[in-house]
């Protein structure tokens, strides 16, 4: 009961902290010499990732690969005109807005439309591209010949999560609305495999999908038979922080770019999409040749984060174990201090075991920036989150390991005059660690896999890299098959390695009698 109470208090405190936060938002970035632009780099033809800097692509900040597309070219032009150096930051769609408000980026140029909801949180410049909604379908399906929304009665339709496209599904009478999906690449796969009958996107996505995949086409609805969309939504604009000093300058530049120029740029973008068809040779070597480096870097990052996270988490676990076993002191003051420490540890464990790591990552990375103006490096934030999270689990594992150590071991040490710390370090923890090692190994393996949730803060670990690769080559099966293999190699190597460590810690099975002297 008391635990629940304290959890509630903490949740309340966190909420309060975040509620106060917007006032503390940092605007410092607006006067810097760089223009940090956030985008998915996975939303062609607006923005995509490619492996070379061909066709004027821009290096993606803190990750391998280059970004290009309509948005990138637009961003380049604007940055040049307002006298700043362009930095492209790749992040997931849902990370864009918090990244902007917390000052991680200065602008969102990502094919985003200025909906009223979004306007509540951030400002938008004037339009930089005007679009129309379409439904992308399979060429060989009955829907390919549709001309009106009415023709989609009974069709399974989806769209991207948190977009006005998804809300627009409701305009189709009798539609079978499917749950929203994460990105267009996933929707294209769902469509070709027949899981869905169509998905809603803007015209550029229709052009791209049809160019890319001969089995797909898109419907060009007439004004009255198509989706009714407010200007707020069909007009794409650049997101900036509320009251940003950038707005004026950007609007001035946008005014100079005519509609004709914009259409030309879009055509150019569609024409310069990275090639997806593979050369001859088998798919495996092609994939490795093209993306092997990117995937290996991702694997390296995954290994680094989970290794550091497990080691630091292990140290946290040992420390918690030492503190939680302190014997009852004789003076009231020390007793109070001990109770307080135990209480804090209990809260720490409950909070970090009781909330998903993906939420912790968002709170630490975006929340800390928004509430305290603390701008953390993404990798550092990832290391901290995984360490703290793992620490909570390993604290409990070590506690179990300590409980399994015979009480006589403590008594003998105390009877010999060992202090509590000496007892723990020399006698109890070595045994507790041995007891806990299989479970700690397990944590390590779980970490290898769970670091994939860190894509929410755009850490380029293996899963994030895999998403990027799959988003470029559309070979979902092959890419994720290779990536599964990479995860397996890592986890298998770790479990074997720790088996050896366990064996080593157990010591030799037999002993040699020492020479008599």
């Amino acid at each position: 009961m008391t635990h629940k109470y304290w959890l509630f208090m903490i949740a309340l405190l966190m909420t309060l902290g975040l509620a106060v936060a917007p006032g503390a938002t940092t605007h410092a970035a607006d006067n810097s010499t760089t223009l940090k632009v956030g985008m998915e780099a996975n939303n062609a033809p607006f923005n995509w990732t490619q492996t070379s800097k061909a066709n004027g692509a821009v290096k993606i900040d803190g990750a391998s690969g280059y970004a290009n597309g309509y948005d990138v070219q637009m961003a380049k032009q604007i940055a040049k005109q307002i006298g700043k150096r362009l930095v492209v930051v790749k992040m997931s769609w849902n990370g864009l807005q918090p990244a902007l408000t917390s000052g991680k980026i200065d602008a969102i140029i990502a094919g985003m439309s200025p909906t009223p909801e979004r306007r509540k949180a951030i400002d938008f410049t004037s339009t930089y591209y005007k679009t129309k909604l379409t439904i992308i379908v399979r060429k060989n399906s009955q829907y390919a010949k549709a001309t009106s929304l009415k023709d989609f009665k009974g069709a399974k339709i989806t769209a991207q999560l948190n977009t006005y496209e998804y809300d627009a599904i409701d305009q189709i009478q009798g539609v079978e609305k499917q749950s929203a999906m994460d990105d267009f690449s996933a929707m294209r796969v769902a469509l070709t495999s027949g899981v869905i009958d169509g998905y809603i996107g803007e015209i550029p996505e229709g052009i791209t999908a049809a160019t890319d995949n001969k089995a797909l086409s898109y419907i060009n609805f007439s004004q009255q038979n198509g989706f009714k969309v407010s200007a707020d939504e069909s007009d794409l604009a650049i997101g900036v922080r509320k009251g940003s000093t950038l707005t004026g300058g950007i609007n001035q530049e946008l005014a100079k770019i005519s509609q004709a120029k914009r259409n030309r740029l879009m055509k150019w973008a569609v024409a310069h999409l990275p090639a997806t068809s593979s050369e001859d040779g088998n798919w495996f070597t092609t994939l490795l040749k093209q993306y092997g480096g990117m995937l290996l870097q991702g694997a390296g990052m995954t290994l680094l984060i989970s290794l550091v996270g497990t080691v630091v988490g292990f140290l946290i676990g040992l420390l918690a174990g030492i503190i939680r076993t302190i014997p009852r002191p004789s003076t009231a003051g020390k007793r109070g201090l001990r109770a307080l420490a135990n209480w804090l540890i209990a809260i720490y464990i409950e909070v970090f075991r009781g909330t998903p790591m993906i939420v912790q990552a968002a709170v630490v990375y975006y929340g800390a920036a928004q509430a305290f103006g603390l701008n953390m490096n993404r990798t550092l934030a990832a290391l901290i989150i995984v360490s703290i999270n793992t620490g909570a689990y390993i604290s409990e594992i070590i506690r179990g390991g300590i409980t399994a150590v015979d009480a006589g071991q403590f008594e003998a040490a105390h009877a010999l005059g060992f202090t509590h710390l000496q007892t723990m370090l020399k006698v109890v923890l070595p045994q507790a660690i041995r007891n806990s090692l299989p479970a700690v190994t397990n944590e390590f393996i779980v970490n290898i896999k769970d670091t994939s949730v860190l894509s929410v803060i755009s850490v380029s670990e293996l899963f994030f890299s895999a998403e990027t690769v799959a988003g470029q080559n559309f070979q979902f099966f092959h890419t994720y098959l290779v990536v599964s293999g990479m995860y397996l190699i890592m986890t298998f190597a770790i479990s074997r390695l720790f088996r050896l460590v366990e064996k080593h810690m157990a010591g030799p099975i037999s002993y040699n009698l020492a020479e008599n002297h």
Partner: protein, 247 residues
Amino acid sequence: MTEPIIEVQNLKKVFGDHEVLTDINLTVNAGEIVSIIGRSGSGKSTLLRNINLLEQPTSGDILFHGNSVLAPDFDITHYRAKAGMVFQSFNLFNNLTVLENVVTPQVTVLKRDPAEAKQHALELLNTVNMDPFINAKPDQLSGGQKQRVAIARAEAMDPEVLLFDEPTSALDPEMVDDVLAAMSNLAHTGLTMIIVTHEMAFARDISDRVVFMNDGVIAEEGTPEQIFNAPHEEVTQAFLKRYLNRA
């Protein structure tokens, strides 16, 4: 040699509402060998555990060289090093080898130089005939071997007092003698020994004084001859009769 080293005064110990020690008064002189006998559950272990503060006394006092071990400024670590304990269940450190079990406490608590500590450990392990086993881990030893290492470990701290809590009760009969021999070697070397035991013959031979405990009090104490040959109290007589009949 009549200077008191340990004085237990009006010691009372309560677990919850269970009064295990009612009112214990016991003075042990330096160099003296005192055996404590009594029925199971009479509070013998509890008394020893209070003496070296593994349990906190409920009331009363315990003096070491005339100083209260319960005083706030009393150096408990030093006291525990000087008043060692040998347990019924050995309690060797399972993560350490035989040699390390004897070396580590000296280095950790007494801050002895490791080489010196090792030398000391080897000598003591030799006297209990455990020097061939220095590389073994505790779970590779028999009970009697473990207990002899535990005695060497306690001795290595150069204690003034050693408390033994039924050191042979967990052993097979053929191993008991080795352990009793190791204890006999220690007796009358100036070391004070308080021994809780059910080995009546051993208690009679080795002790300067025998204490009979019953229901949380000391029912009778005296020389071995007096307790074993002519006990005053009826409870003592009844207890000993059962033991002597069995022997």
